[in-house]
């Protein structure tokens, strides 16, 4: 049996992604936790292996080669706890591999419980295929037939405030019960009930024998004006893992290695963002992961988390459906080269068949990065609707201020240059005000999140150890003046006393060098009532630390205004990449 993490030294965290499985080693160095190394292997959840274990073992073997340490015995089983200098003290795992879970959501009112349960579904790798509420115009038997036809993996049921509606909820339970009754036993879905707790006992009696598994969680809508998703979100994470254990080979064994510390990747990432938001109290903190299985947007503010997991915006097998959510023109606008629209469309379909393939030519890389920008844009716009009102925003509305913005995902972290990676982030997220862009280039956050549940010291020390890459300090003024009009004047004074003065025009992107190890004070004087986060026309100063690229001033407008003329737009896209170092 694995030992407790509380008194453990070394921690091995594995993340099973849709394409890549990573094994990350954390260990104590000079009295504090440090990230030591990462091993990688292709994920083996798919045919012909159909067992995540093979990819996990190969990633650990790769880690063994890198570190010279031994974690597996001759039978390729994990040695836990450490014995005679070999093995690992603790093991945690996260998983995002596998198709999105086909989910039917059930509630009462569209604007109340259905909205909340939809938000809950969006906190994991779910594909909502139907929703059933009291205003559903379909007859009960049509709702039953729809469930039978869709064969969902999961049914999420909400509805009724505590001490509120009982009969209406029971009617919905009857429909779900009948649908489950009509399914063959092996096809029955898992059900998670998150509604009126007064009905929970009835739900258990009615549904427990008719479902693959029945889980009850506290009401996500305890009263009309209160939404509390967090407890249900944890229960949903466990429910997701149950479904994965039943449907994906090797997950059961992974769970036994992890001794229960196995979480959905997005949930673990969200846990870290919430945790970090308790430290960075002045603004919200944003975590973005652009993965093959989904794009995940986690925004935390003073311990409150909004987590959006969007499989429809993943860079893998769902890409063939991307044009249902966006137009080809919206992807083409991000290209720095003249590439026919048909080539981009073909690329989406080809990549959906081979999600793990990698762009080799300059043209393919340009398409891949244009798609990444648009996918990120779509995910951010969707997530922005779900970010609570108490997040601080520019007075003109729009996307909230965040500090820092933590980004992961191979398309960005493995870009040919860090400048390309940063430009994808700036174009996709379009942050506002002053912030720091941080790269999680080894995808550490989910592993840290999984470990944090039982060892809160590890993530704190890893964050402090500088395991993430500070990519850029960013100033993004908001202004609606004409292109070319000066909107920001300022100076950067380094700790050594060097002073750089600057004036920025609307529509430009500029960089002030401030490399890693340096620090300075940035004095900002907005012009023409532009807003850099202190309010329209208000001056202010911020402390900045050196980063890989330096202080980036993105005055290209929000949303970024791109020329409609192809030649001019290609030129601008190329110029911006060049500005950020190529």
């Amino acid at each position: 049996m694995p030992s407790s993490l509380i008194d453990a030294d070394s921690v091995l965290a594995v993340d099973v992604g849709s394409c890549t499985t990573r094994a990350m080693l954390f260990d104590v160095v000079e009295g504090g936790y440090r990230f030591i190394a990462v091993g990688q292997a292709p994920t083996s959840a798919m045919a012909p292996v159909k067992d995540v274990g093979e990819g996990v073992v190969r990633a650990i073997e790769n880690l063994q080669e890198t570190t010279g340490r031994l974690f597996l015995d001759s039978n390729r089983s994990l040695i836990i706890p450490t014995k005679d200098g070999v093995g690992i003290d603790s093991f945690v795992a996260t998983i995002s591999a596998g198709p999105a879970i086909k989910t039917v959501i059930v509630g009462l009112l569209d604007e109340v419980s259905l909205q909340s349960v939809n938000r809950l579904a969006c906190s994991t790798y779910a594909n909502v295929v139907d929703n059933i509420g009291v205003n559903d115009p379909r007859k009960p038997e049509e709702q039953i037939d729809s469930i039978l036809h869709l064969e969902p993996d999961l049914i999420l049921i909400a509805g009724g405030t505590n001490d509120g509606a009982i009969k209406s909820v029971q009617k919905k339970i009857d429909i779900i019960g009948l649908a489950c009754f009509l399914m063959s036993a092996e096809n029955r879905p898992t059900v998670l009930f998150v509604g009126n707790q007064a009905v929970a006992k009835d739900v258990t009696e009615s549904l427990s024998s008719l479902t693959s598994s029945l889980n009850i969680s506290p009401n996500i809508r305890p009263s009309l004006d209160v939404e509390d998703i967090q407890p249900a979100s944890y229960k949903l994470a466990n429910t997701f893992m149950q479904i994965r254990r039943n449907k994906l080979g090797g997950v059961e064994k992974l769970a036994s290695w992890a001794n229960g510390n196995l979480l959905p990747t997005a949930y673990a990432q969200g846990r870290m963002i919430r945790f970090m938001s308790q430290t960075y109290k002045s603004k919200g903190i944003l975590g973005v992961d652009v993965g093959a299985s989904a794009t995940t947007i986690a925004s935390g503010f003073q311990g409150e988390l909004a987590l959006g997991v969007y499989p429809q915006f993943g860079l893998g097998e769902n890409l063939s459906d991307l044009l249902r959510y966006t137009s080809l023109d919206d992807i083409l606008r991000w290209l720095p080269l003249d590439i026919p629209a048909n080539n981009v469309r073909d690329y989406l379909y080809q990549k959906s068949v081979y999600p793990d393939s990698i762009p080799v030519t300059i043209e393919d890389m340009a398409i891949e990065q244009a798609i990444t920008r648009q996918v990120l844009r779509l995910a951010i716009e969707t997530a922005n609707k779900e970010i609570p009102a108490n997040f601080q925003r520019p007075s003109s509305g729009g996307f909230p201020y965040f500090e820092p913005i933590l980004v992961s995902g191979s398309a960005i972290t493995n870009a040919a240059t860090i400048g390309q990676g940063l430009l994808m982030i700036l174009d996709g997220i379009q942050p506002v005000g002053t912030t720091t862009i941080v790269l999680d280039q080894n995808h550490l956050l989910p592993g840290m999140g999984a470990a944090a549940g039982i060892n809160p010291i590890l993530p704190v020390q890893i964050i402090e150890s500088g395991a993430f890459m500070g990519l850029a300090s960013l100033v993004a003024p908001i202004s609606n003046v004409r292109l070319g009009t000066p909107i920001l004047r300022g100076r950067l004074v380094t700790k050594e006393g060097t002073e750089t003065k600057f004036e920025i025009n609307q529509g430009t992107l500029d960089v002030l060098p401030l490399l890693g190890g340096q620090s300075g004070q940035l004095f900002l004087e907005p012009l023409h009532r532009s807003d850099v986060g202190f309010g329209p026309g208000h001056s202010g100063e911020v402390q900045v630390s050196g980063t890989q690229i330096g202080v980036v001033i993105d005055a290209r407008g929000r949303p970024i205004q791109l020329s409609k003329e192809n030649g001019r737009r290609f030129e601008m896209n190329k110029k911006w990449i060049w500005t950020l170092g190529g």
């Binding site: 798919m46 012909p48 159909k50 399914m183 096809n187 097998e317 048909n342």
Partner: protein, 353 residues
């Protein structure tokens, strides 16, 4: 590194499992020979129901309604057959709105299943039943030529395989004016299709099947609704069919082939495939699904440049190789059939075997 494998084999043994979506009846026996269109198992997949709310219709409590309901679970009802009757001076009754079978009774309600559509599981290939999985399906084993693809429209058929008229190279395009009545009932080979009209004409003939190297993505909604199976061997856009598949297909023209255009699923491993049954004195080895990259393997390139070209892996490079996109990746040297030597990232290769 484990390599993805796609089968393009002149002679092999394949084993395919065919399973019902839910419990049903297996209709074949062990060692029975089957043809692709033979139904090997079936199940009732009725997914249309009518809920008759007796309590509500009679204005009584569910408990009282339950006492009045005259039908039982499993019973077949005809349209207008009496389900419940409330006695009294003026009697009220509820009848079955349609023909159907009672699947649930309770809570003052009766649930009727309307119609009883049977889902028929077809063999999909000619072979021998080598395992019967009671109530669920069968394993079928067969020997012959196997060519797998990457996209299919979920149909099964068998027919004489012919090249599209004037087909000279794997680049040649399927055009409507090349299709005439002499091709009716055949399974056609062409390099590419981007003309929706050609697909409509093919459906009107009708063809028994179509094998394409590539297809334009905007044709997929049409292709999905055609009555005959379509399999795409290589990918999307305008590309020639890979040379190995093309040669193998052309060398087998005028043969009876089975085309199972099941959709590609990377998790289950199901792929569209063409199977050409051949006699085997000695059963050949089962097609291998999983191998490691090694020198001498025949490989197909799945990304630009040289997309869908076939070659031989001549050297697994040590360390990382740099590519024009600026990325550094584990790679291999590949000798293309044209004689050109190229360096390809391992993740962009798949084994033909």
């Amino acid at each position: 590194m484990l390599a993805p494998v796609i089968h393009i084999l002149p002679m092999t043994t394949i084993l395919r499992q065919r399973l019902l979506p839910s419990v049903g009846r297996v209709l074949v026996r062990l060692n029975q020979k089957v043809a692709p269109l033979d139904v090997v198992a079936e199940t009732n997949l009725g997914k249309e129901h009518i809920l008759v709310d007796i309590a509500c219709l009679l204005g009584i409590s569910p408990d009282k309604a339950d006492q009045l309901i005259r039908c039982r679970v499993g019973e077949r009802l005809t349209s207008k057959q009496l389900i419940a009757q409330l006695p009294g001076l003026i009697s009220h009754s509820v009848s079955s709105p349609k023909d159907g079978r009672v699947v649930a009774v309770g809570g003052g309600q009766v649930l009727l299943k309307i119609g009883d559509p049977v889902f028929e599981l077809r063999a999909g290939l000619p072979g021998t039943i080598t395992r019967v999985i009671p109530e669920r399906g069968v394993d079928i084993t067969a020997h012959g030529t196997l060519i797998q693809g990457i996209w299919g429209n979920n149909r099964v058929d068998m027919g004489l395989m012919l090249p599209v008229p004037q087909l000279n190279s794997p680049r040649d395009v399927l055009e409507a004016d090349k299709l005439d009545i002499s091709l009716r009932g055949s399974i056609l080979i062409a390099g590419h299709c981007s003309d929706p009209h050609a697909l409509q004409v093919a459906d009107e003939l009708p063809l028994r099947g179509l094998i394409l190297g590539s297809i334009s993505p905007e044709l997929l909604p049409i292709a999905e609704n055609l009555h005959f199976p379509i399999m795409v061997t290589d990918g999307f856009g305008h590309h020639p069919m890979n040379a190995v598949a093309f040669k193998l297909l052309i060398s087998n023209t005028k043969q009876e082939v089975a085309l199972n255009s099941t959709s590609y699923d990377r998790y289950t491993g199901s792929r569209p495939e063409i199977f050409i049954p051949l006699p085997a004195a000695q059963p050949p080895q089962l097609a291998q699904d999983s191998v490691e990259f090694s020198n001498g393997q025949q490989v197909r390139i799945r990304r630009n440049p040289n997309m869908f070209e076939v070659g031989t892996l001549t050297n697994l490079r040590s360390g990382l190789s740099e590519f024009p996109s600026g990325l550094y990746l584990p790679a291999a040297d590949v000798l293309l059939e044209s004689g050109q030597k190229v360096v390809v990232p391992l993740v962009n290769l798949e084994i033909l075997g």
